[in-house]
């Protein structure tokens, strides 16, 4: 179900080398803002990501069913823990906010225990803000029975635009 897709850019090594340096500033439209207890920023206290920066994170694929769609869907995106590592997150919880002001707290342990994806493509189609884009937090629910629980279902935040590390 879960497969590692080739990391297109050698971003992993780049982040390793410049762990404490500032992030490059976004050039295009900002799709995601990360704030709170992070050590790497590029816009005052926050880390802003445009599409190029998002797509530069190591890509992963995930095939899973969801609770709001039919059948197995294939998702493509980055691992939440990679993002948190990139921004030097130092906290236990994130507060995820969606475009429609949906706000949910998620323990960071979810991202270390499971390969939780922030997907920007579903079935080879880019997720748009008129659907569930720009980013949809997707859990590998088919691989872990405990994730097939209503208490995990509400953490599948779509139209994700802001993460606060706490």
């Amino acid at each position: 179900m879960f497969g590692l897709v080739v990391a297109f850019l050698a971003l992993a090594s780049a982040t390793g080398a410049s762990a404490q340096s500032a992030l490059p500033p976004p050039e295009g439209e900002v799709l995601l803002r990360v704030s709170g207890r992070i050590s790497r920023t590029n816009a005052e206290d926050e880390a802003h990501f445009d599409r190029a920066m998002i797509e530069a994170l190591p890509r992963h694929a995930l095939h899973t069913t969801t609770s709001v769609t039919d059948g197995v869907r294939s998702f493509e995106g980055f691992l939440m823990r990679d993002l948190l590592e990139l921004v030097g997150a130092n906290g236990t919880t994130i507060t995820a906010t969606a475009l429609n002001d949906y706000v949910i707290d998620i323990p960071i342990s979810d991202f270390t225990k499971f390969d939780v994806l922030a997907a920007y493509r579903m079935d080879d189609q880019a997720l748009t803000t008129q659907d569930k884009g720009p980013l949809w937090i997707v859990y590998p629910r088919d691989e872990h029975r405990e994730l097939q629980d209503i208490r995990y279902d509400y953490r599948w935040v779509w139209q994700l635009i802001h993460i606060e590390v706490r």
């Binding site: 709001v68 769609t69 429609n100 949906y102 209503i150 779509w158 139209q159």
Partner: protein, 476 residues
């Protein structure tokens, strides 16, 4: 036969109860598994939330558009529109759309959501929808909002009904589980009661079996006693007949001869009658001894005594009584001492040794010697009496010490079968015993074995006279 059928029936009942137990357990397990499986809640069932979110998105878009018509410059119509489209798209997808179908609201929703999405596209066209746009958009959203309110209402009713049904099914399943548990408890209780009652029956059966065995033993004892008295009567009467016949014939002869009887003849007849009378007296004495032994009237008075002196005295008396017989006495005392000290009742010892010597004299030819030997051996004081007489057949050895038993080789010799039995009983009462070695036709050796003691005898080496001053204590 009846009990066999009963136990078969009981077995069937037990199996049935155990089967019932298994069925109840199975039902409980299946029902609990069902409950567990039904306990998962699907997010799609949370339709009320989905509709509410869409309603909020629609209302906010509407208010944003109204703000724009009122001249506000910082409106966020596009974003609000995107959110609404996202919510409507969600509702047009798989589980959500099927839910609307079950509510019968799907067709109306399709046209309303199509209209809303088209309206958004019109806004996107330059120049920002035109003048007619806000009015049209407001109307479109109003219709959508009215539908969303109705849909929320219907979803709420459906969800509450679903919750009610689910709770009903849980309750039903739980009742079944409770009934199964009750069944398990009842079967278990019945099984336990049956087990306890079976155990009780087994115990009482064991008790009556024990009682029956007791009774059987009692009966066997009674039979032995009756047999004993039968044997006793026949033996004694037989033994009495011979001396009585001698007495009778002597008296007859004397009376028949009348005046012609000579002094010599009288003396001879008197001698015979006296011998016969002595025999009768001895018989009565033996019989009384046996009876006393049986009724526990014989007491043991133990004291330390020199066996050598005691037995030597007995031998001397026997020599006087049967002058023609050779009775050799041998004492093999321990080095440095002529005495062999033992703890015994001298009266009993005399009785025993007397009996053994009499037997040896009775059951061996007159020309053969009888050897009496006293020795200490291996912690025991031994007194053996050896004859070269008829001996005892090996097959009769196990019965030799039985009362009234007389060896086949003893036929023709008067005897009651009491002597050896009494002798062994007396020996055992003193912590000793009598053993026998024999060879048919070559003779027998009877050995009295008594416990050896170290201390000096308190009665000296003399025998007879001291018996009157016994100091030993009675053995219970």
């Amino acid at each position: 036969m009846k009990s066999g059928r009963n136990s078969g029936f009981a077995h069937v009942i037990n199996v049935a109860i155990i089967a019932a137990l298994a069925v109840f357990l199975g039902v409980a397990l299946v029902k609990l598994t069902e409950i567990e499986r039904n306990m998962r809640i699907n997010a799609a069932e949370n339709m009320l939330w989905v509709i509410y979110q869409a309603h909020v998105a629609s209302l906010r878009l509407d208010s944003e558009i109204v703000r724009g018509t009122n001249g506000a410059q910082d409106t966020d119509v596009e974003r609000r529109f995107d959110v609404l489209v996202s919510r409507l798209t969600l509702m047009r997808e798989g589980p959500q759309y099927r839910y609307l179908e079950t509510l019968g609201l799907d067709r109306e929703f399709l046209s309303l959501s199509d209209a809303a999405i088209d309206m958004g596209r019109a806004y996107g066209d330059p120049p920002a929808g035109g003048a007619a746009f806000p009015v049209q958009a407001h109307e479109t959203l109003q219709r959508l909002n009215a539908w969303l309110a109705r849909a929320a209402n219907a979803a709420m009713v459906r969800e509450w009904n679903a919750i009610g049904e689910r709770l009903d099914s849980y309750r039903h399943a739980l009742w079944q589980v409770l009934a199964a548990i009750l069944g398990i408890m009842i079967s278990g209780a019945v099984l336990s009661i049956r087990l306890v009652s079976t155990l009780r029956r087994v115990r009482s059966a064991e008790r009556s079996l024990r009682a029956a065995r007791e009774l059987e033993k009692e009966l066997e004892r009674e039979r032995a006693v009756s047999r004993f008295y039968r044997d006793f009567a026949s033996t004694i009467s037989h033994q009495f007949r011979t001396p009585l016949a001698i007495i009778d014939s002597s008296m007859q002869r004397l009376s028949r001869r009348g005046e012609r009887v000579t002094a010599t003849e009288i003396a001879e007849r008197v001698g015979r009658v006296r011998t016969a009378t002595r025999r009768l007296a001895r018989l009565v004495e033996r019989t009384l001894d046996a009876a006393r032994l049986d009724t526990g009237q014989i007491e043991v008075h133990l004291q330390s005594f020199d066996l050598v002196g005691l037995v030597r005295g007995i031998c001397e008396r026997h020599r006087e009584h049967t002058p023609g017989r050779r009775i050799n006495f041998v004492a093999a005392g321990r080095s440095g001492s002529a005495e062999i000290c033992t703890r015994c009742d001298p009266v009993m010892i005399e009785h025993i040794v007397d009996n053994l010597i009499s037997n040896a004299v009775k059951y061996s030819p007159p020309d053969k010697p009888v050897e009496v030997r006293v020795e200490a051996h291996d912690g025991a004081a031994l007194c053996s009496v050896r004859d070269e007489g008829v001996g005892i057949p090996a097959r009769e050895m196990p019965r030799l010490f039985e009362r009234f038993f007389r060896a086949s080789t003893a036929s023709g010799v008067p005897g009651t079968g009491i002597g050896l039995n009494l002798a062994r009983n007396l020996a055992r009462m003193q912590g000793g015993d009598i053993d026998v070695e024999t060879c048919e036709g070559a003779g027998s050796t009877f050995t009295l074995r008594l416990p050896l003691v170290e201390e000096a005898p308190n009665g000296g080496s003399a025998a007879g006279e001291e018996f009157a001053h016994r100091e030993g204590q009675a053995v219970p």
